[in-house]
């Protein structure tokens, strides 16, 4: 008979209590794994979102950089505008590879979404957009027929939502015009999926924003020239320059408070789980005092009793680690969804990514913590004097 078998049988003698304790550890493990997964997933998704923009610098009208950062990623309303001359000036700079002007505009349709109303986001772009994002493919249709055509290209999600394909006609509320759907983009996994694109000139005309832009995306020929290029643009009074590295840092700062909160929750969960494990094993030791006394009478040494009780703690922690890993896998999408609802900004894609490394690290940490917390109940059990234990309650 092996020690593992004795320990397992002892735990299964009170299955509900053991399973509840393992469940508690599993919850704590799942929270920690999801938290680590969130940290990694958020950074990765944010990087992907920023990389998929295709540019390294964004020029916007002077204003709050935080607003600009989120606007840039979300295409939000309430935007500031800058004159198109800035674009003309930037494009002549020999250091730039691609420059893409953008005009974002939102229209609220009060009759949409069964009377609740909804906002449609439009982005005016020109041919440079395709050069900047060569990976964007068409699901159906193609690019605009001309630079001032009354045509739109729909992002994947917008087209799915409205059940549109190339060739369909759409009526744009507010400007009271009918547009033809020139094409529908394939899914990009970025905010582009939720936008409706139209030629820049058309957008400026129908939204009465001639010679106005909300942003200019810039890709440089050589990344090492970025600092000098940024400094040159700082001299322009009406604009601000945001590098993607800054955007990333700004957004990560915004979510750091959420990370502090979730870390605190995880710490509390771990603490409760540890107390639960100690409590369960101590109760088991207390209830089995006589049994342990008999084992000692039958010849069990202190070390053998210690090993049995310590193994029980380890089994609970091991079960908790495995259960937690499974739970984390099953719940990562749900946790990601929940976090997206409370975060000031969340990138597209999965923001909770469960990695093998995080699972292994958490599992190892749980086993180490379990091994340490298991020492006290095991020591208590090993220290029981056989005669006092056997005669207890007589």
């Amino acid at each position: 008979m092996k020690i593992l078998k004795i320990a397992y049988r002892n735990l299964m003698h009170k299955p509900v209590r053991s399973i509840l304790t393992i469940g508690g550890v599993s919850m704590a493990v799942a929270v920690v794994v999801c938290l680590i997964g969130f940290d990694a997933g958020y950074r990765q998704s944010l990087k992907q979102d920023i990389d998929k923009m295709g540019y390294q610098l964004l020029v916007t009208a002077k204003g709050c950089p935080y607003e600009a950062a989120t606007m840039m990623l979300q295409g939000g309303g309430g935007l500031r505008y800058m004159p198109q001359e800035i674009y003309k000036k930037i494009i002549t700079d020999p250091r730039v590879d691609v420059v893409t002007p953008q005009l974002v505009h939102s229209i609220f349709d009060p009759n949409d979404s069964e009377g609740r109303g909804s906002v449609t986001l439009f982005m005016g772009v020109d041919d440079s957009f395709r050069k900047l994002k060569p990976w964007v493919q068409f699901k159906n249709g193609g690019w605009f027929s001309s630079s001032d055509a009354n045509e739109v290209i729909m992002g994947y999600e917008v087209a799915e939502l409205e059940q549109r394909v190339a060739g369909d006609k759409i009526f744009i509320t507010g400007v009271d015009k009918v547009f033809t759907v020139a094409g529908v983009f394939e899914r990009t996994g970025t905010q582009d999926d939720g936008l409706t694109f139209m030629p820049l000139q058309t957008a400026q005309k129908i939204f009465s924003l001639e010679n106005k832009l909300t942003g200019i995306g810039i890709k440089l020929k050589h990344i090492e020239t970025i600092t000098a290029f940024e400094e040159d643009l700082y001299n322009e009074p009406s604009i601000q320059v945001i590098s993607m590295a800054q955007v990333k840092g700004t957004i990560l700062n915004l979510v750091s408070s959420v990370r502090v909160m979730t870390t605190a929750i995880a710490a509390i969960a771990v603490f409760i789980a540890v107390i639960g494990v100690i409590n369960t094993i101590l109760m088991a030791v207390f209830e089995r005092t006589k049994e342990i006394g008999v084992m000692k009478a039958l010849g069990a040494t202190k070390y053998q009793i210690f090993k049995i009780i310590w193994t029980e703690t380890t089994i609970i922690c091991l079960g908790g680690a495995v259960g937690g890993a499974i739970l984390a896998f099953l719940c990562s999408s749900l946790v990601g969804f929940f976090l997206k609802t409370i975060l000031p900004y969340s990138p597209s894609g999965n923001i909770v990514i469960i990695s093998t490394l995080s699972l292994a690290a958490t599992g190892a940490a749980v086993l180490i913590v379990g091994s340490i917390v298991g020492i006290y109940p095991a020591y208590k059990a090993a220290s029981i004097r056989p005669i006092e234990a056997i005669r207890q309650g007589d």
Partner: protein, 224 residues
């Protein structure tokens, strides 16, 4: 006369209750020899259990001298007493005290594990047969009757071939018929296998079936 296994000289065990000192075993001289079947008798609180506990090295002594197989164990620590117990003694108790999470077979094999020996199927099979529990070997203690539990406890006590079997009120939770069967088994083990048995009981009818009887009162032997 068999060889001396346990030799107690002026054995005393004192408990302190508040300011009062109670000599549960008081200055007892006693010898257990190979092949003895001794019944320790006396009323409740007379010191029967304490005498068995101290002779069986389950409890330390306050004064006097105690030797087991020629080794002085009087001052031994609990860690060393464990070795003395598992190499020399088997125990059965009034409440059976089987490990509830283990089957009969696993309970019987448990002392072998503590000795660092693997479960010997032949040996455990023999033990099960000896106590008539072959058909119940995979049952948990809660599925057994009181008599079956006590027989399992006997098999567990005998699995390591102890020199002395200590039985403290082994029939306390059994009816008359089962009690008689238990003592018949002790008699058989003593006569056929030469097992040395020390049994505490307050039942005179059962006690009379032992080869020797000692009567104990207030921690002292009043009749041997």
């Amino acid at each position: 006369m068999g060889d001396i296994i346990i030799n107690a000289k002026k054995l005393t065990k004192t408990y302190i209750r508040g300011t009062e000192k109670i000599n549960a075993v008081d200055n007892i001289d006693f010898t257990v020899r190979q092949g003895d079947f001794t019944a320790v008798m006396g009323p409740s609180g007379s010191g029967k259990t304490t005498l068995l506990d101290t002779l069986g090295c389950l409890d330390t002594i306050t004064s006097g001298q105690l030797t087991v197989s020629g080794t002085d164990v009087s001052q031994m620590s609990e860690n060393r007493l464990v070795r003395v117990r598992r190499e020399n003694f088997g125990f059965i108790f009034q409440q059976f005290l089987l490990v509830p999470s283990l089957t009969v077979l696993e309970n019987i094999a448990l002392p072998l594990y503590f000795l660092g020996r693997s479960a010997d199927n032949r040996l455990t099979g023999e033990m099960l047969e000896k106590v008539g529990l072959t058909g119940r070997k995979n049952h948990l203690p809660r599925e057994l009757s009181g008599g079956e539990c006590q027989r399992a406890a006997i098999a567990r006590a005998l699995i390591t071939s102890p020199k002395v079997l200590f039985a403290d009120e082994p029939t306390g939770n059994l009816d008359t018929q089962k009690s008689q069967e238990m003592f018949s088994m002790f008699d058989r083990l003593n006569k056929q296998d030469g097992l040395t048995i020390l049994v505490a009981t307050h039942n005179p009818e059962l006690g009379r079936q032992a080869k020797n009887i000692i009567n104990i009162r207030d921690g002292r032997i009043i009749e041997n």
